[in-house]
């Protein structure tokens, strides 16, 4: 199915990107020193925010979004582990609010782990990591209430946020908390930009853990991602060059998504008839017919 759907090209590009990432990870293993990552403002704010919370003796509140367990929430938890480490040293209370039981499980373990490694497990309360609700707006109401009551001094909203983003941001703003936010949901970023002090935009979010930990794997992967982006940019450039050339040429055939049919008088190529378009949207194979033997009736399982 897939090859007819996407053509060989889709598989090729995906494979290429994969190779770029993996290659750079292995490269980083060999020499991780010389690797450069540009500064990401939102992240330098983390320690400042925690410091402020410590002065005020008020808790740091973290939310890893309302998504299920996936790379996005894992990424958030990796960052929160870093935050917690700092908070633990200052013995600043933390509140990690979760909207998904599986993420809660992971968070529970990571955070306890952090306190253990810092040798202050006694500071780890069961309230520190709590599941609030897995229903979007119940979660929003609960977290907002917590922000108000606990007068959080610093809040971190990192992860998969939807409509509730602004409820958190404005409640936190109302109690005068420093806010660091970041989401992969481009539709929510503007609200964080409007209401929060520091915002991670787009895949700065994914760059964050590499920036904080400097671990070779992450840094390497980040470089690989840059390669991928360059590759995408290059592809776009090539495609747009060929299109620009081809659209000035005349064609005597028209393409209807299945086959070419001769035209009365030649005209310029339509966008759907250019090489790039044909490469990206291969001929649909709906008319491919395969004859196969039938298996005897009975006993189809589920």
């Amino acid at each position: 199915m897939q090859y007819y759907d996407t053509g060989w090209f889709g598989v090729f590009v995906t494979a290429m990107l994969t190779v770029f990432i993996l290659f750079n990870i292995s490269r980083a293993h060999r020499n991780s020193e010389s690797l450069f990552i540009r500064r990401i403002p939102g992240l330098n704010a983390i320690d400042e925010a925690i410091g402020r919370a410590t002065e005020m003796g008020r808790p740091v509140l973290m939310v890893p979004g309302i998504g299920g367990l996936n790379a996005i929430s894992v990424q958030a938890l990796n960052i929160f582990a870093h935050v917690t480490k700092t908070a633990a040293r200052f013995s600043t209370p933390i509140r990690l609010c979760l909207a998904d039981a599986t993420v809660y499980t992971v968070a529970q373990e990571i955070i306890r782990d952090v306190y253990q490694k810092e040798g202050m497990i006694e500071r780890f309360h069961s309230d520190s990591v709590q599941f609030v609700s897995d229903r979007q707006f119940a979660f929003a109401a609960g977290v907002a209430g917590m922000i108000y009551r606990e007068k959080a001094a610093a809040t971190f909203f990192l992860g998969e946020f939807y409509a509730e983003s602004l409820i958190f941001a404005e409640s936190a703003n109302a109690v005068g908390a420093i806010q660091v936010a970041g989401t992969t949901q481009t539709t929510q970023t503007p609200f964080f930009i409007a209401a929060c002090d520091y915002v991670l935009i787009g895949d700065e979010y994914y760059a964050a853990s590499a920036y904080l930990t400097r671990s070779p794997v992450l840094v390497g992967s980040l470089i690989g991602q840059d390669w991928c982006k360059i590759a995408i940019a290059a592809l776009i450039l090539i495609g747009f060059a060929t299109n620009s050339y081809q659209s000035t040429q005349l064609t005597s055939q028209a393409y209807d998504g299945k086959e070419w049919t001769p035209l009365a008088q030649p005209r310029h190529y339509l966008a759907s008839e250019t090489w790039s378009s044909l490469l990206f949207n291969p001929k649909s194979a709906r008319d491919v017919k395969v004859e196969r033997p039938l298996e005897p009736e009975q006993g189809g399982s589920q």
């Binding site: 998904d100 709590q130 707006f137 109401a141 602004l166 194979a285 399982s301």
Partner: protein
């Protein structure tokens, strides 16, 4: 799943099925016990392997050439097709694994909720009354919900879509769910409008170039969405151009500008962000799949 190896299945309500299920449970229990005895250094590899095979399925599903025009109960022509058939048939089954496992872990969340609020309630800590209310409404909703559900699935039960056949559990469930829960959802959702107003009032100041750009883009969009304003301005412009459809100024109606902004600035810029995010997700996916992040979550 015509082609799914029928080895994994047994006729419904047959003793064979029951035995197999129980057998599987026993086997799993033993396996888990054995696992729990695994030496510390072998733990990471175990988790890594499990993760790898879980991910491998979809990767194969993507890469393996799969027969296009395929009708039910056909037999594959060769081994390549056989694998393709199998992958395609297994996919709907595999795609539920995540939900099932996540579903059976939900208790952890509820446990956390209970432990926090029961403690508050029992130890009469601050706001213990509210914790009580929470626990109460939780129990009520759960009990009523199941009561209603059991009546609904009971064989020969009347059509409960029809209000005429409703009894107490239906009314109670409708009251708690439609009357309260859903309404609270809507209320919380709509509260965002107020926050959007105060946030915009506070943040949209022409302080810096960026803020100014943000503000002007937002303003243009808002105005173009106000049908009346949009309509009036285009009327105005049509008059200026003297109703000449070719008039150059026609390009500058609010809607033209908004549409142009959307197609040539908004969509492309978001698309570019999404490329980055997509790559980020792909990279993170690979790292998790291959358990490359030491000390990370994956293992």
């Amino acid at each position: 799943m015509t082609y799914l190896a029928s080895f994994f299945t047994a006729p419904a309500a047959s003793s064979g099925l029951t035995i197999r299920i129980l057998g599987t449970l026993v086997f799993t229990a033993i396996a888990i016990f054995a696992l729990s005895q695994a030496p510390t250094r072998s733990r990471r590899p175990i988790v890594a392997t499990v993760t790898f095979f879980a991910g491998l399925f979809y990767v194969l599903f993507y890469l393996w050439p799969q027969p296009y025009d395929r009708k039910p109960n056909e037999i594959p022509l060769n081994s390549v097709e056989a694998v393709g058939f199998w992958l395609k048939d297994a996919q709907p089954v595999v795609s539920t694994f995540g939900n099932i496992i996540a579903g059976s872990m939900l208790g952890l969340g509820i446990f956390s909720l209970l432990s926090v609020h029961l403690r508050k309630f029992v130890k009469k800590q601050r706001d213990w009354q509210f914790s009580g209310i929470l626990l109460l409404s939780m129990v009520a909703m759960a009990v009523i919900g199941y009561w209603n559900w059991i009546q609904k699935i009971a064989p020969g039960s009347p059509d409960l879509e029809n209000v005429a056949n409703w009894g107490f559990p239906q009314y109670a469930n409708d009251f708690l769910f439609d009357g309260m829960l859903q309404q609270m959802d809507a209320a919380m959702f709509s509260i965002i409008a107020f926050y959007i107003l105060s946030a915009a009032y506070r943040a949209f100041r022409i302080r810096s170039i960026e803020a100014t750009i943000l503000l002007s883009a937002a303003l243009i969009m808002m105005l173009s969405l106000m049908g009346a304003v949009e309509y009036q301005t285009s009327e105005l412009i049509r008059n200026i151009s003297g109703n000449d459809p070719n008039g150059f100024i026609n390009n500058f109606t609010l809607k033209e500008i908004a549409t142009w902004m959307r197609t040539n600035l908004q969509n492309p810029s978001l698309r570019a962000v999404d490329f980055g995010v997509g790559i980020g997700a792909l990279a993170m996916g690979l790292r998790l799949w291959l358990s490359l992040e030491r000390g990370g979550v994956s293992a």
